[in-house]
Symmetry: C2
Subunit: 162 residues, 2 copies
């Protein structure tokens, strides 16, 4: 890839690529969707098969994901976040806080964003530790940031159905 | 624009659009390039005329920029950041910190990023106040974050030339 300039903001947007790459990383990060089938079937935005395949390939090439055969189903490939991708958590949190403030977000999905914003840097640190546990085999964290976000999401979704 | 989902991260990447939109916002935010000519002529990445024109139009439509005739040169349009765009400062800072850590950044451009990272939330607050002064007519801040970043950039650029 030919890079347009050495500016850190430019390089980041070049590497993170188009709109779909961050959404695929989001599903692996927040939803723990780990295989092509799961990423396709549970995609909120209905990602197309060819787009998903090309973005997974690109994210592996960029060192943001690693691919490995699933120990239980040898034909299936599981994707894991690398440390480089895990350190995108503050970028995801900043995008999420901004989106919640200015864009027409769904209340249930905004609940997750609110947990991240209210939890501040300490919650993001816990979340990154948890991702290192799930993706890189590090020891589990004391508190699960994902569990806190999922609980807020479920409570908001339940409230919305009433 | 048809939105793919109500997820705040998805909405943010949809609204921020492609790779060029954030780079144009960066030049207005950090470089105070305010006109089409300045954005084109000083573009580090050599943005093409048609891309710049379409992104400016899109950013105005999204409520991230406002366009107004330059009081001194009536034929020239000046662009200003809106509050919605100014609140992208934390997103820019997170992208910049991540890029500086993981990507092949130029040392002079990384110097600005380092000022933002070391300054933490207080510097970002000052920077947003300064942008409100430059773009929205608010009173000037006590300290100029831009001056701090520019001084670091100039010192690093001077060091690199030795």
């Amino acid at each position: 890839m030919e890079l347009r300039s050495g500016c850190p903001i430019n390089l980041s947007v070049e590497v993170l690529g188009d709109k779909w790459s961050l959404v695929v990383l989001r599903d692996i990060m927040f939803g723990n969707h780990r295989s092509y089938g799961e990423l396709l079937g549970k995609s909120l935005e209905g990602i197309a098969t060819n787009i998903l395949a090309s973005r997974l390939k690109r994210l592996v090439a960029e060192g943001l994901l690693t691919a490995a055969a699933d120990p239980a189903h040898k034909q299936r490939t599981n994707y894991s976040l690398t440390e480089k991708a895990i350190q995108l958590v503050p970028v995801m949190a900043a995008l999420s806080a901004w989106g919640t403030r200015f864009l027409p977000v769904s209340p249930d999905l905004a609940a997750r964003a609110r947990v991240m914003e209210e939890g501040g840097p300490a919650l993001l640190t816990d979340f990154m530790e948890e991702l290192r546990h799930l993706h890189l085999g590090a020891p589990p964290p004391e508190r699960s940031a994902l569990a806190q976000m999922d609980a807020a999401y479920r409570a908001a979704a339940k409230g919305a159905r009433k």
